[in-house]
Chain length 189, copies 2
């Protein structure tokens, strides 16, 4: 997606060889029009999959997942991190490490919103090592729902996340793939 | 907003006299079309305010804030809870208690995305005691940005949050006001 590449080159900053700061356009400030384009693109790529729900993990995946759900005309479900006081007692939970936060969190989805009748598209903003993604994939498997595939805004293809998920036979569609951040330069695949 | 009242009566559940579970339509599962209606309604109510940015606190306020920003044609900024490893060192931070989580969290906004030139509309999903809202209002004041007002999806008017904020002279526009949850019944104002 050329428009997204241009915006990344203009607004993102390379922190080190592993970390790209995208808070000007994805995970702190968001351009709604650009997000609508992304949602339309994901909807186009998964148009033949009869998706019944779009799912993501809170919180920076929510805008892209929302616009995809809007374009597909289906509900959005966002997995919660940590249980709130009013959480469903028989929710599906997985414990996952967070690459950028340096901590472990629990993600959870109520069984009520993910059933064996669902065919879900999992949208996320960034995939690096894929720990949170694997956690949500396990929750989807345990729910009995069918996973149509993953739609990722920015894949850091020099890290193992997306590759190991594709090796499980799961479709991963990324809008942009970054193969290297070495020398402070963003190299697209 | 009649449509929202109908959906609350159909899909929400009263947990006790203080807590309404809205996870079927606001804070776990989301209906994108209903969210678009909400965003359009907030945009209509603040149309004359020359808003430059919509702001919210992650994460369940993001969908309504996103659709409002889209309708107004301005960027969305979502305040982060807790600093990530790559957070801006001179971000604006406030410590706030969370009513539904029973814990204290830090919310933060990078100075880069909130400047004295901004006139911001603060959108949130639910206001109860208003602790998170007051935290973000303090951050907006410290940034030098002007606060046009608050747009709230569900105001629990039997709790003090919205009232105390209005007493500060701040406009609070709620799509739905709930005056009581007593006896397991949802009473709209």
């Amino acid at each position: 997606m050329e428009l997204l590449k241009e915006r990344i080159l203009r607004d993102a900053s390379v922190i080190n060889n592993d970390v790209l700061k995208l808070d000007a356009l994805i995970n702190h400030q968001v351009d709604p029009k650009l997000m609508m384009e992304m949602g339309n693109e994901f909807a186009r790529r998964f148009a033949e999959h009869e998706i019944t729900k779009v799912i993501t993990v809170e919180s920076s995946g929510i805008p892209a997942a929302f616009t995809t759900a809007l374009a597909l005309g289906v509900p959005l479900v966002f997995a919660r991190r940590k249980k709130t006081l009013i959480a469903d007692p028989d929710a599906l939970c997985e414990r996952v490490p967070s690459f950028t936060k340096g901590i472990v969190t629990d993600i959870m989805v109520s069984r009520q919103f993910l059933t064996p009748e669902d065919k879900v598209l999992f949208i996320d903003d960034i995939i690096a090592n894929g720990d949170a993604a694997r956690g949500l994939i396990k929750i989807i498997e345990r729910s009995g729902a069918k996973l149509a595939g993953l739609g990722i805004v920015v894949e850091k293809s020099f890290q193992a996340g997306a590759r190991t998920i594709r090796e499980q036979g799961i479709i991963v569609e990324s809008l942009v793939k970054i193969s290297s951040l070495e020398g402070g330069n963003i190299t697209f695949e």
